[in-house]
Structures are given as C-alpha cells and as structure tokens.
C-alpha cells in the first residue's frame, strides 16, 4: 500500500513536471518547481503573492469568472474586514480553474501565432449543421462527408508543411555551401535564418510539451480532486465553531456565506440606504433560511449584481417580500430616504412601482458601467507601470 502511494506520488510529480515544462515553454517564466505544487496542496509555503500584485491577480481571476473568498477579503466564519492571507492552495485551486476553462489552450494559440509568422488564420469554417443533431442516416452521411473534408484539408496542410521544410532546408544549405565573404546583406539573411531557426525550435518544444501534458492530464485532475477535498475539509473544520455576525442559527455554510456577503455588501453601501436595509433584514433572514442550501464552493457575490449567482438569492428575497405583501423594492436603491415605503402597507400603485423600478434599474446600470470603466482604466494603468506582466483581456 505504501509502495503504491509512493508510486502514485512519483507519478503525480512527473505529471506536474510535465505541466511546469509546458508552462515554461509557453513563455510563462518563472515557473515554480513541482515540489511547490505538492506543498501547496497542504497549504504550506509562504505568502506567495506580493501585495502589489495581489489586486492584479484578483482582477485577472475575476475576469475569467473565478470567485473565491480571498478575492473579496471575505473569510467565512471570521467576519470583519481584514484581508485574508492568500495561501498557496487557494492559488493552486485558481490555477486549476484556469486550466479547466481552456486558458492554457488560448495561451498556447497566442504563443504559436507569435512563433510561427507564416501561419495564416484560416477563415472560420461553418459546417452548417442543423441545430438539433438527429442520429438519422442523412446526418450521419453529412458527418462522414465533413470528416472526409477535414481529413483532406489536413493532408493538404501536411504536404504544404513538408514543402516549406524542404525549401527552408535548401535555402539554408545553399547559404552554407556558397561560403561568400560576409557582407551586410548576407549577415542579415543569416541572422534572420538563425532567428527563424530558434523560433521553430521553440515551437517544436512547445508542441511536444503540450502533447506530453495531454497524455498525462487525467492524473493531474485526479490529484486536483484530492487538493479540493483537502480544501473543503479544512474549511469545514474552520467553520465548526462559527462566529456568526447575526447570531442566528446556520443551516449550511454555503447559504450562510451568501447571506454574510450580502450583509457585508450592504454595510458598505452609502448610508442613505441603511434604513432600508434594516427594514429588510428580517425578510432576508427568512428568505435565507427558506432558500435551498446548495451551491458550489466558488459561489459568492461579486461586486454589485453582475453575476448570475446572486440573482437567485435576490429573487428569493424578492419573493419573500412580495409574499409578505410589502411594496416591491430593489435591494440597493439610490438614496431615497428610508421613509420611502418601508413602513407603509401595500398601497403603492403598480404603475408607480413599475416606474420606480425602471428608474432604479437605469441608475444601477449607469453606476455599473461607470464602475467597470473605472476598474478597467485602473487595471490598465497598473499594468502599464509594470514591466513583466502582460494583460490578456478576456
């Protein structure tokens, strides 16, 4: 058993080594050694993200759709505003997310296009497949046809590649054989050739590394499962003695965290809305309890309503309010004063309520767009100031 575990861990180390080589070949320097990955699983290692880069990392991850506690300074169970330390396991999980979303393939494509300047971007092939794929004979025949078409194109490309190699070889050997005394133009041409040679070599290394990685990828994901298990187990242990902000009973930590985050978000809103919030607090609690507890590890509310995750919870709260006969009110309205309608019974006419909602929506959208623009500008300024970081926008 011990030998098997040892064998497995050796295999995992080799697999991670393949990943590291691939990342290095893709131009992402410096790549941590495989052992750092293993230690990261057990949350070892020092604070790995320098403070000045932390915001960049968070912003970059958020743009890919990744949301984790540490990105919002929210730590489940502990409350408060202090920024949680980013541990290496969090980063490892984030890396797993990025790999799963295909960022690696995007990066590789970008890198290949930079290394191979003769690549033509092919026109997008529209196979004109019907929307619902039936398994009847006509669709199968069409599929066979398309596969055959692709194979032909593949063979054509292969022969073009061979011709190109053949010609490059001829050019290179003609250059060597001619032994002309070096003039500026021949120096230039040989420099260009050397550069091309280096690029092709890098390209080959990259593609080989990718192939090697693809062969062993499954093992990596099995190992990542175990990392995630560790993470979840630790999280449960941490929360076994909860420090609830409101003191009310917790049903499940996912839903509680959602509520906790909502609370904190609302805390940060301008004071004009605080009155409203207080009035809604009970309803939210109720809604929160009634809400079915589910959700993934990464479900948390990004700034101000731009994620799908938060909509269910809001609509749940929404519904709770309607059931109690309260006037329809959005969670974060512009400062209209607390006396707007919190105490009055359901006497607000529908047309007025609709108008109110539309107005609110417009204001919120405007605010969101302004915020986005500001974020983007800030991000670009920060990137501009740094040398070695490249921003790959989504």
């Amino acid at each position: 058993m011990r030998r098997r575990t040892a064998a497995v861990s050796v295999e995992v180390k080799q697999v991670i080594g393949a990943l590291c080589r691939l990342l290095a070949a893709a131009g992402l320097e410096p790549v941590p050694p495989p052992d750092n990955f293993r230690r990261a699983k057990f949350d070892g290692g020092p604070e790995v993200v320098p403070v000045e880069n932390r915001k960049l990392v968070e912003a970059g991850l958020w743009q890919t759709g990744y949301h984790a506690d540490w990105m919002y300074g929210i730590s489940g169970g502990r409350g408060g505003e202090e920024q949680e330390r980013v541990c290496s396991r969090d980063l490892l999980l984030a890396l797993g997310w990025l790999l799963a979303t295909g960022k690696l393939e995007e990066l590789l494509t970008w890198r290949v296009q930079r290394l191979d300047k003769t690549l033509l971007t092919p026109p997008p092939v529209n196979p004109q497949l019907p929307n619902k794929l039936q398994a009847d004979s006509a669709s199968l025949r069409k599929l066979h046809w398309l596969i055959g078409c692709l194979r032909c194109q593949g063979r054509t490309l292969l022969s073009m590649q061979e011709e190109r190699t053949h010609l490059l070889h001829a050019v290179f050997f003609a250059r060597i054989a001619s032994s002309v005394p070096s003039s500026s133009s021949s120096d230039q041409s040989s420099a260009v050739l050397m550069e091309d040679c280096v690029c092709v070599q890098q390209l080959c290394d990259l593609l080989e590394a990718y192939l090697n990685w693809k062969r062993v990828e499954k093992v990596f994901w099995t190992w990542m499962d175990s990392v995630l298990d560790c993470h979840l187990t630790d999280a449960v242990i941490k929360k076994s003695t909860p420090d609830a902000p409101n003191g009310s009973a917790r049903v499940c930590r996912h839903g509680n965290r959602g509520l906790g985050k909502l609370e904190e978000m609302l805390l940060r809103l301008p004071p004009g809305q605080k009155g409203q919030r207080r009035g809604r607090g009970d309803a939210e609690e109720g809604g929160g309890r009634r809400r079915s507890q589910g959700g993934s590890d990464t479900s948390c509310l990004p700034p101000l309503l731009s994620s799908l995750c938060c909509q269910p919870s809001l609509s749940q709260v929404y519904r709770a309010r309607l059931q109690t006969g309260r006037p329809v009110r959005h969670s974060s309205q512009p400062a209209e004063g607390p006396g707007g309608g919190t105490e009055t019974p359901d006497e607000l006419p529908a047309s007025q309520a609709a108008q109110l909602l539309l107005h609110t929506e417009a204001l919120l959208l405007e605010r969101r767009d302004r915020q986005r623009l500001a974020n983007r500008t800030q991000l670009q300024e920060m990137i501009g100031r740094l040398d070695e970081l490249v921003l790959i926008p989504p």
């Binding site: 004109q128 006509a138 066979h144 046809w145 596969i147 063979r155 022969s159 053949h166």
Partner: protein
Amino acid sequence: MSIVTVQLGQCGNQVGYELFDVLCGDALEGQRRVYSAAGCERFFHQTTRGELVARAVLIDMEPKVINQSMSRASRSGMWSYGETAHFSQKQGSGNNWANGYCVHGPRHRDAVEELVRREVERCDRLAGLMAMMSVAGGTGSGVGTYVTQCLRDIYPKSFILNHLTWPYGTGEVIVQNYNSVLTLAHLYQLSDAILVHENDTVHKICAQLLNIKHISFGDVNRVIAHQLGSVLQPALTADSRGLYGRNPLGELVSALACHPEYKLLSMCTVPQVPSVSMAYSTFNWPSVLKHLRQMLISNTKMEEGKLYRIQSQLSIDWQVRPPAGSERTRSLSGSGFNRSLANLLVLRGKDVYSAETGGFEDPALYTSWLSPGEAFNSWKSPVPFNKYEKCATLVSNSQALLRPLDDMVGKAWNMFASRAYIHQYIKFGISEEDFLDGFTCIEQVISSYSQLH
C-alpha cells in the same frame, strides 16, 4: 504541385501516352507563360538542356506497348519519357487478375517502388499520384491494384487518384467482369477517388460527335486524354487565391469524394467536335453549360443532337431510354433522374468569368444532406485548352455509373454462380471468399448510390 503518373498495363500505357501528348501540346501552345510554366511543372521535369521529361513510370508485363509509347513520345520532339522510367517483363498476365495481383505484383514490387520513388524525389512537392489502368485485363487490373496498395503503404498521406477504363459491355475478354469486380473492390479501400471512362461511351462520342468512320483505340484514347487533361491542367480554384492551383488532386478529392462510400467519378465534356469543323464552330457559354446540365440530369454522356422539351427545370418531358437490362436496374435510380452527390465544373477558354454556372447550383440536383454550396465547385481558366476556344468539363460524383456497375456485377455474379473459370484464379491464390468479399463490397457501393435522395 507535381503529379506522378503510373501507367499500368496495355491500356494504361496507351492512354497515358495520349494524355501526356495532349498536356504537353497544350502547355507549349501560344504565349501563355504562367499557365505553361504551371502545366509543365505539374507533369514534366525539365532537363538541363531544357527538354521535357514526363513525370511517369511505365509498367507492363510485356514490352511491346511500352516500347511503342516511348518511341512515339521521343519522335514527337516536344517531350519524352524518362529513359529508365519503365519496367516490363517478357510474358503478360493472361488477362488474369489473380496472376497480376498475387504473382507479378509481389515479385516485382521492389523494382516498381524504386522507379516511383525516383520520380517522386524529383518533385519539389508531390501533389499526388495517379495510376492509370484498365479493369478488364490482367496486368492493368491485377498488377495495378497491387501497385496502388504499395503506393498507399509508402505514401499514406498523399492523394492517390485511380483512372480506370471500363471495357466494352460486349468486350473480348471473357473474364473481364471478374477482373473488374476484384479491382474495384480493392481500389475502393485504397484510392481517394476513382475516375472512370467507359469504352462504350467514348466510342459513341467518336462515332456520333467526332464523325470518325473507323474508330481505333487511338481515337478513343485521345478523347479520354482530352477529357482528363481538361480537368488536370492548371486552373484557378476557390482555394488558390488568384493563382493557378497547386493542389489539383487534393482539391478534386475534397470537392467530390469526401465521403468514403462515394468515390466513383464520371466525366463529360462539351463541346466535342471534329477538328476539321473547329474553325467553323462558335461556342457560347450559355449553350455549352445548358447542354452539360441536360446531360447531367438525363445521364447521357453526349449531346444527342435532338431537341428536348423540358416542362419545368427538373421534370424532364422526354422519354428516358429504359435501361436495357433486368427489372432490377429499372428500380435503381428511381425516376431515371440522375441525382448527384457533388459536381465539379471546369471551364476553360475565352470570357470564362462571364459564364453563369447557377444552373448547377440547383438543390434539386443534389442529395438532401449536402447543400449546393458544399456540393458544387467550379474551377476556371481563361486559357483555351487543346485548341477548343471554350471547353467545359463536368466531373460528377453521381448515380451516372450505377447502371454500368450493376450490369458488370450482374454478369460477374452469373458467371460466379456456376463457378465458371474460377479455378484459374484459385490456382494463383485468390479464393472464393475473396470473390465473395469483392461482390459484397461492390453491392454496398451500388446500394449507397441507389439511396442518394
């Protein structure tokens, strides 16, 4: 961008010679530098003295035809075959496919492969290989199949096109149908596309259109060469980005034969007129294309010269000749309408860009699962071909060959049922199972084509 041709057997060597003659004549004609350069590069290799040497390997089990072809080529003064690019033996294959495939093929494999390799290495880039043969005899069919198999092994990624000449229905070789079935069954797995010319059809063209009184094999071969050449010479294709295409076989295969069950291609060319009348004939694209389309729909390979009344664009009013054959063939292609899987139109000559090819993009011509956009392709060249001011060739993957194929299999099966001449094949190593496999394969092809709706 160069095609290496392997000429196999008597028929293959004779047709091949005519083909290179047409190609060379066309390439060297007039002041068409770019076209000439492209055409020469594709089919010929230039020696240091500027002479054109065909990129071809000649293979036969008897020396007579090879010697004839080589000497005729040298005498032309314009081109020649490579002096050592041929292989022959003293005795033939006796019209026995098994003799060719099981005995001669393996015995001389190394020599043949070496010859082909030499030709391939002389090419800057290999566009593909074309094997030319007949299916009726023993060498072309048997050795040809074996050689195709070897080429497929050596060049797995290259495009391999087989040009087959189908024999006269009432041909001289008793076992021609056995040979044909065995050849087709094997080639279907090996080849990327199978281009077919039927002797019967070409004979009719010679008789009725070209007004030749005493038709020789040379006349027939020249018609075949003209049709084949009109497809293989350089042309501007959709993928070639304004230059002459450099991947003719690949583009042919991807335009017509992507589906592994549908590889049989037939051709027809308009116009075909005697050379003496050429000077007095005027052609215009609309009438040329209209005739071609009629020929496609009604599955006739030549303009009948009669007036047809066509009610709508598709429902054809005239009586399509009932197929001379059994009940079975009547039901093969349903209403007699020739359904296509894919079509390739090659237009060459003056004002080619003004030619309207919309008639070939009618969805009713094609099967339902392939849109006309994918099923129809056209290549153009502003350069007149082989002395025709305007020339249009349609290469079609359609039900056109269904009836001849079915006839062939029917006759072969009748003979096999009584095991006639089977012992001659068994003694060289082909078993009855191999025959049955062959029949099954061809029946599958027939079934696939019958079901093109």
